[in-house]
Amino acid sequence: MDAPDTSRPAIEAFCKVVCGFVRFWPDHAAITAELTAHLEDHRDALLDLHPDLTPEEAEEAAVQAMGDPEALGRALNDSHSPRFGWFQILFRVSVRTSLVLLLLFCFMPMGFDALATLRNPPLYNDGTNAIIEAYDQTEILADYHPEDAVCYLDHYTFTVERVLVTPRPHTFTGEPTLWVSILLKAVNLDPRLRLPRVYNWLWTEDDLGNRYPGMYQYKTAQVLYDLYPEQAPTPQLCNTMGGPSLITPFVTYYDLNVMDVDPDATRLTLRFDRYGSAQLSFPLSLKGGVENG
């Protein structure tokens, strides 16, 4: 049976006398809590054994069983020496402060990076700097922020932030083609999980069926061709290339470029399907979208 904990004058008085003999006052609360729990346990046990007792009588008996509070206080004072107690507190505070300072020292620059990126996110792929500088003198076929270009993969949210399309001669033949610059963003709420390594496996395909392989597709094809030159197809040079341009604790940006795109194509799909099924797929217009200057 639990007696009401609020009425315990004998217990409180006992603990007060005990603590009066313990010089290291920061331990008074813990000593009082421990002795109070003991005395309440004993009081409740007595009330269970002797239902005729009043709570006050049971409490008084429990206090009596504890012994002389002065002797107990003096004995506890020996095991709670102020020098040792203050040393422990100082040690704990020093360790905690050092840890906080170390964490601040390590993570503050990253925090500032993340905050700066959040407040001032990149608007364009870095590779387009020259075009942006001479925006009025350059022929730009499309420059937009695609709406709803969102894919989710393993707790990452991938979005295409910018698409910029300009005419450019073919790398080898000089024939007119399109050059597509894409700014891809990956977000994960876990600051440790940055830079998902999808970029070398990204590739693109246009609405006419032309494929623009990524770096690893090209390398894989090259290995197969070297091993089995008579069976494997001639590897197609990679046209979808790029890598991370800004890595912060929560957000990673990738600058991607697709070169030598068929000028008759109107749509391009950026894909990541390394494991067989389409895990990222962004259909992008080559003729413009929502203007977002």
Binding site: D41, L72, A75, S79
Partner: protein
């Protein structure tokens, strides 16, 4: 029959460590168990337990943690450490040697020291 207090005082550390050797316990539980197991022979002033526990904790022989009982009362539990187990072994050996010597004297023969 209750034991002479001076006989008990030398062995309280041994008794406390022994009580903690099989499971973590809180103060009142230890007192109740001590009384029950010794058939009230070791009925000491309950407050005596805490300076012993706090000294053992300071020496690293036991560690304490708080746990809330179903009634909502927070109790301080004590857990014996490896150092405490070694101390218990030493105290047991001391006690065996001492009690053999006392028994030998009582029996009127020379003490068989270990």
């Amino acid at each position: 029959m209750k034991a002479d207090k001076s006989l008990l005082s030398g062995s309280t550390t041994l008794l406390v460590l022994s009580l903690l050797s099989n499971e973590d316990k809180y103060g009142y539980q230890m007192i109740a168990e001590l009384e029950a197991k010794s058939d009230n022979t070791f009925s000491m002033k309950e407050g005596t337990l805490y300076p012993i526990l706090h000294t053992l904790e300071k020496e690293g022989a036991v560690q304490s943690y708080e746990k809330e009982a179903p009634t909502g009362r927070t109790r301080k539990y004590y857990h014996i450490t490896k150092k405490g187990l070694r101390l218990l072994d030493e105290k047991k050996k001391e006690w065996t040697t001492f009690s053999q010597a006392v028994n030998a004297v009582l029996a009127g023969s020379a003490p068989a020291m270990a």
